[in-house]
Amino acid sequence: MIDYVFRVGGEGGEGVISTGEMLTVALARSGFEIYTFRTYPAEIKGGHANYQVRASGKLLLSYGAAVDVLIAFNEEAYQKHIADVRPGGVVLYDADSFSPPATDSLIFYSVPMTSLATEKIGVKLTKNIVALGVCAQLFDIPLETFEVLLKEKFGRKGEMVVQKNLLALRVGADYIKQQTKRDLIRLGKGPRETKELILSGNEALALGAMAAGCRIYAGYPITPATDIMEFLAKELPKHGGYVVQTEDEISAVGVVLGASFAGKKAMTATSGPGFSLMTEMMGLAVASEIPAVIIDVQRVGPSTGMPTKTEQGDLYLACYGGHGNCPRIVMALTSVEDCFYGIIRAFNIAEQFQMPVVVLSDASLGHRKATVPVFDLARVPVVERRKPTPEELVSYKRYRYTPDHISPMSIPGMEGGGYVAEGLEHDEGGYPAASNHENHLRATKKRYGKFVQVESIANDLVRTYGDPHPEIGIISWGATEGVIREAVQMALDKGYSVGALHPKILYPQPLAKLRAFIEGPKAIIIPEVNYSGQFATLLRKRFAYDFVQLNKCIGLPFTPKEIFDKIEEVATHVHRGQRTHATKL
C-alpha cells in the first residue's frame, strides 16, 4: 500500500506553502487520500516555513511520522528536517543554495533549482515549480495533473505567466531525467475512483456555516482564523449575506447578537486573544437567550503567544470564561470533515436552545488540508429556533417558563412580539428584576435547564474505537482524534488492549458515556496539546479517577508514535501493578 510523506522546507515567501499545496491537490486528484500539516513563520517574509503532505491509498488519520521525501530549498530546511527523514529516504535539494554532507543512509538528488529557474525561465521565483517538475518525473505523478493546476492557478495572471510556469515544470522534469533513479518511490494513479474534496479545516468550517444557514459573519482579523472571514466575505454575498469586519472582537459578537436577535443566523470566528475579549458578550447571549456561534481556532497562548502554532489551551476559557453562572455549550471539532458537519450541529444547538455555542478548532486543524467525501447536505438536517405561534403572541412573554425551558422567540417585525432582550436579570416578560432574589434562582434554573438537555446530544456525539473492553483507555478531544486512532491501531496490532473515547461536545459533558467507559480500563490516558491538562482537570471534577496525563506543549500536534509510546509505557506499568505518572512532552 502506497503511503508516503513529502515535506517541503525553505524560507517563508519563497513558495514553500504553494509548492506543498500544489503537490497536495495533484496527489488528491491522482486518487490518493491526503493529510497535510504546515507550519509557517509569524512573519510574512523570511523565517522558516514547511509543508508536509502525506499521500496514501488508505484513509489517513494523521500527518504521519517519518519523512520519505524532503524537498529542501535551503540549508536551514535541511538542518531542521533531516533527522525526520527515514533511513533510505530521499532528499531533493537546491544545489545552488547548499550541499549536504554525503551519507549512505539517504538518497540525494542534487538539482540546481535556482539557476535553472533564472537561466532557463528567467524568473527566479519559479524554482519551486522546477522542484514540482522534478517530483512529477521522479515519483511518477502525472505531469498533466500539474499542468492543469498551473493553468488554474495562474490563468488570471495571463498566458505569459502560465507558459513560464509550464516551462519551469518541464525544465525540472527534463533535468532529473538525466539522473539515474535510485529510489523506489512511485505513485502513479491512486486507488480512489470517486471524486473527493480537498480542503482545509477552516474552509470546511466556512462551508458548513453556509450549509447551516449562516448569512451574517462579523469578525476581526486574527491568525489562524482569518481565512474563514475571507472565504465567507467572497461567498456569503452570493447567497444574500454579508461579512462585516468590525473594529474589535467585542464588536464582532455585538453584531452577531444584534443580527441573531433580528432573526438571522450569525457567527464569528477568532483565536485566543480575540476570544478573551468576547467573554463579555458571551454572558449577554446567555442572559438574553440569543442563539450565537463563536468559533475559536486555538493557537498558542497566553497573551499573543505563538500566533501560527497550535495548542488546545482555551478549553477553560470556553467553558468558564465570563462572570456569573453562565451556561454555554462548548464543542470541539475533530477532523476536516467534522468541521463541516460540526458547525451545522453547532448552529442547530444554538438555535434550538437559544444560547451561545463555542466551537473549538485549532491551528493544526484549521490550516491542514485533507481529502474528504463530497459533503452530504442531508446528513445533518438544519434546525431553526422556536418562534411564537399567533396564540402565543397574545399576551406574549419572551422568557416564558416552559416545561423544556425553551421559550418561543419573537423577531422584530412580529406584531405583538415586542420585548426587551435583557442583560439584567429579568422575569418571564423580560422586565428587569434586579432585586428579586427568588426570580434570580428561577431564571438561573431556566438557563441551566436548557444546558443540561444538551447532555443527551453530547452522549450521542461520542466516538469510541479500538478494543470495546480495553485494559488501557484513552479519553481525548478535538483535533487529536485522528492521530490517536492511528496510535490505537498501532497498539492493537502489537497486541495491546486499548480503546478510546472521543466526545465532540465537551460542555456539558456526555456523563453517561464517560461513566460507562471509565469503569472498564485499568488505566486511562488523557492526551492533550496543552501544558496543564485542561480536559483532564474538568473530568477530575466529575470523576474520582486517577487519569494519566500526556501533555505536549511545544506548539505542534502529537505524532502517532508519541501516543503509542505512552500506551506501551502505561501497559507495562499496569502489568507490573505499578502506578503510571504523567508525561509532558
Binding site: M210, I216, K238, G254, L257, S410, P412, G413, A421
Partner: protein, 284 residues
C-alpha cells in the same frame, strides 16, 4: 391601517414600566420628546428596535412600546449595527449616556460614523456616572468634584460634537432635555435622516451633578444662517464651547452601510449565484 396610524399618540408608546430615574432627571424630558417624535412619525412599534447600553439611559428600551435590546456597557453601536444588517427595514434607535458612549464604548463611535448605518444614536449627556452614584465622566468639566475626583477633575472634557463631525458622522446635532418641544423636532429630523444620525442631548443629573442652573444661561440657538452642509463651519461652531448651541451642526447625504451591503450583494450575485454544491466543486 389609516385609523391605526392616527391612533398613535405619545401615550401609545408608553409601557407599564415606570422609569427608575430620580424625580427631576433630564432623561424624563428626553423620553417624552422621544414619545412625541415617534408618534409624530407614526412609527409602528413592531418595526422599532431601541438598543441601549448600561447606565441610567440604558433602561430606556423598557419604557418604550417596541422591541428593545438592553445590552452591556458601551456596546450599543455594534448591537444596533447587527440589527440593521439583519433587517434594514427596521427603525433602530440607539440610546446611551456619556460614559457608555464616550468612555467604555468610545472605540465604536468612529467606526459607526464612517460606516454610516441608517440609525439614530442618542446620547443623554449628564457629564457624570449617575448609576454608580456620581463619578466624573468624559464630559465633566475641569474641577468637577465627585466620588473619584475628591480634589477636582484634572482632565479636559471631550467635545462630542467636534468629535463626531471629525469622525465623519453624517448628522450631528445637539439638544437639551429642558426644551422638549425643540428636542422632539430634532429627534424627528435625526430619525428622518438617511444615515448615522448622532444627537448629543444635554440631560442634567439632578442628584449627582445638578447643572440646571449653569446650563440654561449657556444655551444658544445655532445661527439661522448656518449651513449644515458646510463641514468646516460646523466644526468651527462646535469649537465654541463657551456656549451650548442647539440644533443641527452638520448634515450630509452619503451612501449608507445598508446601501453598500445591498450593492455588494447585487455585485456578487450578478457575477454568480452558485448553489452550495457548486461551491463544493471548487475544492475537487
Amino acid at each position: 391601517m389609516s385609523t391605526a396610524v392616527s391612533e398613535r399618540t405619545p401615550q401609545s408608546y408608553k409601557t407599564d414600566e415606570h422609569p427608575i430615574w430620580c424625580p427631576g432627571c433630564g432623561d424624563f424630558g428626553v423620553l417624552d420628546s422621544l414619545y412625541k417624535s415617534l408618534a409624530g412619525l407614526s412609527i409602528n412599534p413592531k418595526d422599532l428596535v431601541v438598543v441601549s447600553g448600561i447606565g441610567c439611559s440604558g433602561r430606556t428600551p423598557g419604557f418604550i412600546k417596541s422591541y428593545g435590546f438592553h445590552s452591556v456597557h458601551g456596546r450599543v453601536l455594534p448591537v444596533a449595527l447587527g440589527v440593521k444588517l439583519a433587517n434594514p427595514e427596521l427603525q433602530v434607535i440607539g440610546v446611551g449616556g456619556d460614559g457608555d458612549g464616550f468612555a467604555i464604548g468610545g472605540g465604536h463611535i468612529p467606526h459607526a460614523a464612517r460606516r454610516n448605518p441608517d440609525f439614530t444614536y442618542l446620547i443623554m449627556d449628564n457629564s457624570t456616572y449617575g448609576l454608580t452614584k456620581g463619578q466624573y465622566s468624559p464630559t465633566s468639566q475641569v474641577g468637577f468634584q465627585a466620588g473619584s475626583t475628591p480634589y477636582g477633575n484634572i482632565e479636559q472634557p471631550l467635545n462630542p460634537i467636534a468629535m463626531l463631525i471629525a469622525y465623519g458622522a453624517t448628522f450631528v446635532g445637539q439638544g437639551y432635555s429642558g426644551k422638549p418641544r425643540e428636542l422632539a423636532e430634532l429627534i424627528t429630523k435625526a430619525i428622518e435622516h438617511k444615515g448615522f444620525a448622532f444627537l448629543n442631548v444635554i440631560s442634567p443629573c439632578i442628584t449627582f451633578y445638578n447643572t440646571y442652573k449653569v446650563i440654561p444661561p449657556r444655551l444658544a440657538e445655532i445661527p439661522k444662517d448656518h449651513d449644515p452642509a458646510d463641514r468646516a463651519k460646523a466644526f468651527a461652531l462646535a469649537l465654541q464651547t463657551d456656549r451650548i448651541a442647539l440644533g443641527i451642526f452638520y448634515q450630509e447625504r452619503r451612501p449608507t452601510f445598508e446601501e453598500g451591503v445591498a450593492q455588494t450583494i447585487a455585485k456578487a450575485q450578478a457575477a454568480s449565484r452558485p448553489r452550495l454544491e457548486e461551491i463544493f466543486s471548487e475544492f475537487d
